[in-house]
């Protein structure tokens, strides 16, 4: 008995270790690469022991990329700021619009409500490339091309359906009687929305917001086409490291480390909300 359970534990440990290595290896490797020069990175066989350098980070932060062909200006910090600004603003706008809409869709079944909700979701089905060309033409006509407002608008295609559909489910899970009870106690529908529906759907809203943030942050193709250098997020900005004198692996790694840090931090921080959000529906109030 004892022996079997010990064996079981060992096997489980090995299995877990394998999974962790499989998923963590790329991140660890990139982290290590970010402290190496291109020469040490490209050495064969790769070496685990190296002399760490902060040159990659310095280059990114100062914006001066030194290559064999000379010094190149890169706007990485600018890109990083763009990413933060675009993602945060997009999610904020999507929450502001999506959460009340989700509440309306959850609580009021009006004629065509299901169709409207589905149409919003269907924006997610369309391949981005399909809508990009007409969108670009429209945006140029409207003067929205290469503006933050235009980008945030397009990012709603990513964020809004996600938030709407996830949050709607959470609102639907709140027993209507709880809201009725608050209304009967003498509170307006808006107070009920604010004091009852919002707090109870809070974990769901946090989860949806986080997911929308990650999707917005990872977006590449909209920003690639619709934004020029000074409005581009990191995903597009990273292209600058493919230079005429070769691919700057060290800087790319450092850029990746810097650009995944915000989402990683956010995900770790919001983890408890996510778990709470997922389990809330299972517990009867």
């Amino acid at each position: 008995m004892e022996h079997t359970s010990l064996l079981e534990r060992i096997l489980r440990g090995i299995a877990l270790t394998l999974v962790v290595i499989f998923f963590m290896f790329p991140i660890v490797w990139i982290f290590m690469m970010s402290f190496q020069t291109n020469e040490t990175i490209l050495r064969i066989p790769p070496q685990l022991v190296f002399k760490p350098t902060l040159a990659n980070y310095t280059a990114l932060i100062t914006g001066k990329l030194t290559t064999a062909a000379g010094t190149l200006d890169i706007a990485f910090m600018r890109n990083l700021w763009n990413s933060v600004f675009l993602s945060v603003t997009s999610v904020a706008v999507a929450l502001l619009l999506g959460v009340p809409a989700a509440y309306a869709f959850a609580r009021h079944k009006f004629r065509g409500s299901e169709d409207i909700a589905f149409t919003l979701l269907s924006f997610r089905f369309a391949p981005a490339l399909l809508v990009l060309l007409p969108l670009t033409l429209y945006f140029q006509k409207l003067g929205l091309a290469n503006t933050y407002i235009g980008l945030i608008w397009v990012y709603q295609l990513i964020c809004l359906p996600l938030i709407l559909w996830i949050v709607r489910g959470y609102f639907e899970d709140i027993p209507a009687d709880i809201e009725y009870a608050y209304r009967i106690a003498g509170h307006s529908w808006f107070a009920t929305f604010r004091k009852i529906a919002l707090p109870l759907a809070g974990p769901g809203i946090a989860a949806a917001g986080l997911l929308a943030f990650i999707f917005a942050w990872n977006n590449f193709v909209f920003a690639l086409v619709l934004a020029s250098a000074d409005k581009q997020p990191v995903t597009v900005g990273a292209l600058a490291f493919i230079t005429s004198s070769g691919i700057q692996y060290g800087q790319i790694s450092a850029a990746i480390v810097l650009s995944i840090t915000p989402t990683l931090a956010l995900a770790l921080y919001a983890q408890r909300y996510l778990v709470e959000g997922l389990s809330l529906g299972a517990v009867k109030g």
Partner: protein, 372 residues
């Protein structure tokens, strides 16, 4: 304080009519019990009064004012839900305080009000707990406290004892009438438990399929049920129902039970020769000596002592089964052959085809809102 009136209210869901042209008046300070099986429309009626759903037709008056188009928060009613509907993210204190917050009471007034009602309902010690940490009984009392705290003139209680255990239900059945009487509020109380209905109601409205079948005092409902269905719903053990065909002789109208003529008191002249059902409450039957006039010979099949009463199942010579109930400690027969006597005054006679009680002259047919 306020009376409550529903006038020709209709509520439909899709093609189904849940409330069918229903009219009802509850006097100021009265406790009206809505009794009926699930799906009868009791909860829908409460929600219409509370204002969380709107009627398709008809009007709702509270205190003489037309409240039909008014939102729930302006109606000034208190409501306790069957599933408690407590706010899970608030403590019991905050839960109870919500009606007082809505009326913009001062902090100290809120505190005093909540503690007052909490003391009354014996939940003072759990006010800081969230609903999750409360027992079912405490949840139920918290929900009740929330409904009571604002002293609303109209109180709607939707089967509040449904989800609590038997002991607590019994306790609350004793406590509630005093609690409600002290408040002086007009109460509409929904239940599926006939004992609760009898214990709490000044009047009982028996509902079925969106219609009020009978409205009366608990005693009226019990002694003069409008039809077989209602007679069967009230009483434990249930009423004995036997097919009979009344006849007439010199002493009046009688029915034959096991070749024994049992004379009935009442205006049953029109029933002679008709197919009827006689309803005999188990407690209206008693064991008697063979020599008693109109004693019916039976065989005792089984006996169930229920502490305060003893229920005996007997079989007549024609094979019909009858339940006899008698207070514990009174003489009876627990096996073998026996004789029972029927109290002709308390016997109920129903028309077999329609199920309506014969001679129910004071039963109001509320479907059309007029006496029938």
């Amino acid at each position: 304080m306020a009376s409550l009136e529903l006038r020709n209210v209709v509520k439909r869901y899709k093609s189904q009519t849940v409330l069918d042209n229903l009219s009802l008046t509850v006097a100021d300070g009265e406790t009206l019990v809505l009794f009926g099986p699930s799906g009868a429309g009791k909860t829908v009626l409460l929600r219409l009064v509370a204002g969380v759903i709107d009627p398709d037709e008809g009007k709702i008056f509270i205190g003489g004012e037309d409240m039909t188009d008014l939102d729930a928060e302006f109606r000034g009613v208190g409501m306790a839900f069957q599933n408690f509907a407590l706010f899970p993210h608030m403590t019991a204190f905050d839960n109870i305080a919500t009606p007082l917050e809505a009326s913009r009471s001062s902090q100290s007034a809120i505190k005093a009000g909540v503690q007052n009602v909490a003391k009354l309902l014996k939940i003072g010690h759990v006010l800081s707990h969230k609903p999750r940490a409360l027992s079912n009984g405490q949840k139920q009392r918290t929900a009740l406290a929330r409904a009571l705290v604002g002293s609303p003139p109209v109180l709607l209680l939707d089967d509040p004892l449904r989800n609590v255990d038997a002991k607590l239900r019994f306790e609350m059945r004793l406590e509630l009438p005093r609690l409600l009487a002290d408040r002086g509020a007009t109460v509409v109380y929904v239940t599926q438990d006939y004992k609760e209905a009898m214990a709490l109601g000044d009047r009982i409205a028996v509902m079925s399929q969106g219609v009020i079948k009978q409205l009366g005092t608990p005693e009226q409902i019990y002694r003069e049920p409008a039809n077989i269905e209602i007679a069967r719903l009230f009483g434990d053990p249930t009423i004995n129902l036997l097919d009979v065909k009344p006849s007439r002789d010199a002493k009046g109208i009688y029915v034959g039970l096991s070749n024994v003529q049992v004379h009935l008191t009442g205006a049953y002249d029109a029933t002679v020769g008709r197919d009827c059902v006689i309803g005999l409450r188990p407690e209206a039957l008693s064991f008697v000596d063979e020599s008693t006039p109109a004693a019916i010979p039976v065989t005792v099949e089984a006996e169930t002592p229920l502490n305060e009463k003893i229920v005996t199942l007997v079989r007549t010579v024609r094979g019909r089964e009858i339940l006899v109930s008698r207070p514990a400690g009174t003489p009876g027969q627990s096996e073998g052959r026996a004789h029972i006597a029927v109290d002709g005054k308390s016997a109920l006679l129903f028309d077999r085809a329609s199920g309506d009680r014969i001679g129910s002259k004071n039963v109001i047919n509320l479907r059309s809102g007029e006496a029938a």
